[in-house]
């Protein structure tokens, strides 16, 4: 490109042009090299990696993503930026990663919503099993069945009786369509054989506010959100929905102990790349994830959230895919039977 008028007469303009063209060149060259290197996978990663979180910043999934992103970026030697692409129950963010370039520079942290989306949304822009390459499971956040502090029942058995006897009156709060609290509510309905009066909120925060304020009767939500309110007694906890007791809440029995093994639900999180990502890249991501989940700082912070990293044998694509398949098989009929539709 010829630069006219001569640079000597218009130094400012020349400088500006030169800067812009230099920047453009730099952008092109770095973009190009990142693409070609990743195809081989040997030098991966050579640039910043974006981890898409399909939910709002500050939420539980976002917290999990940020917890593992930091040590992962240390292992990989490149920065991982967490980007929140929220909307449509997490399907917008997932859709974005599904159609992203499969070079490992755009990955997705998603939760149980990946397995419920096909039943909830009729026009999904992706297929959970086909559009993504699984990287590994991250953590499964337990859920707790809690109530406002002055609800009559003293334990889980009494709560079951109470809900059955007062099914006309009892209100169940959830954090909106497709939320973990709504899914848990569906399982409660199935286990108890009742039809709950559900009070939906826009997110977990306002739902918890109204539960603490005693406006609604009970709900089931992740330990991430509930532990802080359970410990000082602002809400009453009846059971955890895991196979074994939760370390941070040792006094609360499991639903299995209480004779309802089917009422088992955890918000499992997994890391995904677009389908077709090369094996070498996937392996690097899986290894970085596994290393992050061994980091004592991550373990400690997850414990603060009332959860723990997945067992070592779950942090790989095969176990992740198996989990995704099993969960799709569990939730699709439950959601269809309840007639829940998101769009």
């Amino acid at each position: 490109m010829a630069l006219r008028p001569p640079p000597s007469r218009r130094p400012a303009r020349f400088l500006a042009l030169a800067t812009v063209s230099a920047l453009a060149l730099a952008a092109c060259s770095s973009g190009g090299s990142a693409g070609s290197n990743s195809a081989a996978g040997s030098n991966y990663p050579t640039g910043t990696i974006t981890m898409v979180v399909p939910f709002s910043a500050g939420g539980p999934t976002d917290t999990v993503a940020r917890l593992v992103a930091e040590p992962m970026s240390k292992t990989l030697g490149q920065q991982i930026i967490v980007q929140n692409v929220e909307g449509a129950g997490g399907t917008l963010g997932a859709g974005e990663v599904a159609k992203a370039k499969n070079d490992g520079y755009k990955i997705l942290m998603h939760h149980i919503g990946m397995s419920t989306a096909p039943a909830l949304y009729s026009n999904l822009a992706f297929k959970p099993l086909e559009s993504f390459q699984t990287i590994g499971l991250v953590t499964e956040v337990p859920m707790t069945i809690i109530s406002k502090k002055d609800l009559a029942p003293a334990n889980f058995k009494e709560l079951v009786e109470y809900v059955k006897a007062n099914k006309e009156k009892v209100t169940y709060a959830n954090a909106g369509i497709g939320s973990a609290s709504q899914l848990c509510g569906l399982l409660i309905e199935k286990a108890l054989g009742v039809d709950l009066t559900e009070v939906p909120y826009k997110g977990t925060g306002p739902a918890m506010t109204d539960l603490v304020g005693g406006q609604v009767d009970f709900m089931c939500d992740q330990t991430t959100n509930t532990t802080a309110q359970i410990k000082p007694g602002k809400v009453k906890a009846y059971a955890v929905t895991t196979a074994t007791r939760v370390k941070s809440l040792p006094d609360i029995p499991t639903t299995t102990e209480e004779g309802m093994p089917d009422l088992k639900v955890g918000v499992w999180h997994g890391l995904y790349a677009p389908a077709g990502t090369s094996e070498a890249v996937v392996k690097k991501l899986t290894d970085a994830l596994a290393a992050a989940l061994k980091d004592p700082k991550v373990i400690e912070k997850m414990a603060d959230l009332g959860t723990a990293p997945e067992a070592a044998d779950q942090i790989n694509p095969a176990a992740h895919t198996a989990k995704l398949k099993a969960q799709l098989d569990l939730w699709t009929p439950v959601i269809k039977a309840a007639g829940v539709k998101a769009a």
Binding site: S56, A57, G58, G59, D62, T63, R66, L67, A69, E70, V82, N84, V85, E86, G87, A88, L92, L120, E168, K169, T171, G176, I177, G178, T197, E198, V199, P200, Y201, K202, G203, G205, P206, M208, T209, D210, V212, G213, G214, Q215, V216, T224, T227, A228, Q229, K231, P232, K234, E300, K301, D304, L305, V340, K341, A342, A343
Partner: protein, 498 residues
């Protein structure tokens, strides 16, 4: 007392002073730029604060939040570009003041009012946080519904000449607020199958379009021949008369903002609108409102800043978020290994009192940052309009694009800019529309929630005392509006015609 000393000690360490300054300066910057809000900024900076100690990181993040409330009024006043809900109210009279060459006074009023309100609200936070938080929990869906009804009725009842137009705008706003996925059934409403609309229309693109872009279109259509927005910028200093006029509104705004800020969800939004309506209602010269009344800047700005501080109360005392920014701060707490909840005050006194003390320090910093900048900001207005307006459009476009890195937001400001222009030509004002847009979803959600909980029994709104009281006040407002004898007092709350 020990606690307050502890807090001051914590806030005044060199590190914390520095992070507080960084937070406030950053907040002001993102507040000034349309589109990029505190939520996005805090989300971006969250990973950086991993490496800070918890107190410093929260001091900085909090500084961004209330700094943004401060900065948001600047573009609203200078360019009619409100970047957030509360600034939309400030734009009504603030922009008129700027057009009259009193931009300096408007900005100074906003800065001083905000500082005063911030100081008072910090004291409120330190002294009354726990009981106020408990009181806020008494607000259930029924109470919120009645509060929103009161807010809407108050604004309608105050309208006179263009009562029907104001009413129509509020209705249009309510309808626009319905766009998106229904919380209860999940059905998509008014989205025409466009997935981008499922999450609802975005406030920022609506406000930037209806106010900023529409105003530019109006200026261009009316043939701007003047070299700049303002022919002469009069003195920047506030006169004694100005101080006398702004003091009572600042006091009332602070009180209202402090109280409403505590309410999760609706409070912060209602604070600035309500305080503006009240000022106009009790003013002896309500006709000045909408034409550059200094009270119309002082009241909402104080209310807004007070509410920004007290909205920390539910978070710090109960671990419950009052708005998306607070939800983000909960994430910051957790990442720092602090469980946000009722125990924070006792378990983490350094954090709690340090944060509160830093808020006052931060408010002081903001005033010192902003007052000297006023001269600079006002100079912006002397830039020839043919240079200024493309720059405004460019910044608005970039800002709105950054909302979701989606071109849809850019089309949205273009659409709402055109709509806003057409409405202005018909003599309809955008402020009531924005009020309806913001309050509409709250009205609907809380109505349905209250009805679900009461199993369809509408008497719940009358049997709960707080709710009943608010509906009674709303009814009184309505009667006042209908009775012709009191008609004199009725005036157009949102009229901004020339």
């Amino acid at each position: 007392m020990d606690n307050i000393l502890l807090g001051i000690q914590t806030a005044l360490t060199p590190t914390n002073l520095l992070v507080c300054l960084i937070g406030c300066a950053l907040g002001t910057a993102v507040g000034v730029l349309p589109g990029i809000g505190p939520t996005a900024t805090i989300a971006l900076l969250l990973p950086i604060t991993f490496n800070f100690d918890p107190v410093s990181s929260l001091i900085m993040l909090a500084g961004i939040y209330y700094g943004a409330q401060y900065g948001g009024s600047t573009t609203a006043i200078l360019l009619n570009l409100p970047g957030e809900t509360s600034a939309a109210v400030t734009a009504i009279d603030g922009y008129q003041m700027a057009r009259q060459g009193r931009a300096g006074q408007a900005l100074a009023t906003a800065a001083l009012g905000s500082f005063f309100a911030g100081t008072v609200a910090t004291v409120v936070l330190a002294v009354f946080a726990p009981p106020l938080a408990e009181a806020a929990l008494k607000f259930g869906p029924a109470e919120y519904f009645s509060l929103v009804v009161l807010g809407l009725v108050a604004s309608i009842a105050l309208a006179s000449g263009s009562l029907w137009k104001a009413l129509a705008m509020i209705m249009l706003g309510l309808l626009l607020g319905l766009v998106g996925q229904d919380v209860e059934s999940g059905a998509s409403r008014f989205t025409f199958g466009a997935g981008e609309l499922d999450g609802g229309l975005n406030f920022v693109s609506l406000a930037v379009g209806m106010f900023g872009v529409a105003e530019i279109l109006r200026n261009l259509a009316s043939g701007i021949h003047r070299p700049s927005m303002v022919r002469e910028v009069k003195s920047l200093r506030l006169s004694r008369a100005d101080f006398k006029q702004m003091t009572p509104p600042v006091l009332r705004g602070t009180l209202m903002g402090s109280l409403l800020g505590i309410l999760p969800g609706a409070g912060h939004v209602l604070a600035s609108f309500t305080s503006y309506s009240v000022e106009k209602r009790i003013s002896k010269t309500p006709e000045r409102f909408g034409h550059g009344a200094i009270e119309g800047v002082a009241a909402p700005e104080s209310a807004n800043n007070a509410a920004a501080q007290t909205s920390f109360i539910p978070l710090l005392t109960l671990g419950l978020p009052a708005n998306p920014v607070m939800a983000l701060l909960i994430g910051a707490f957790i990442i720092q290994g602090i469980t946000p909840g009722p125990n924070v005050i006792n378990d983490e006194p350094v954090l709690f009192w340090g944060l509160i003390a830093s808020m006052w320090v931060g408010n002081l910093m903001l005033v010192m940052l902003n007052l000297p900048l006023i001269g600079l900001w006002v100079k912006l207005l002397t830039i020839p309009y043919r240079v200024l307006f493309p720059a405004i459009i460019a910044f608005s476009t970039i800002g709105c694009y950054s909302l979701g890195l989606n071109a849809y937001h850019v089309f949205a400001i273009a659409f709402f800019g055109l709509l806003g222009y057409v409405l202005i030509r018909f003599g309809c004002e955008p402020a009531p529309l924005l009020l309806g847009f913001v309050l509409g979803p709250l009205l609907e959600e809380n109505f349905r929630r209250a009805m679900t909980i009461s199993r369809g029994d509408a008497s719940v709104f009358l049997t709960r005392p707080i709710s009943l009281a608010m509906l009674v006040v709303a009814a009184v407002f309505l009667v006042v509006a209908v009775l012709p004898s009191i008609k004199k007092k009725r005036d157009v709350v949102f009229a901004e015609d020339e």
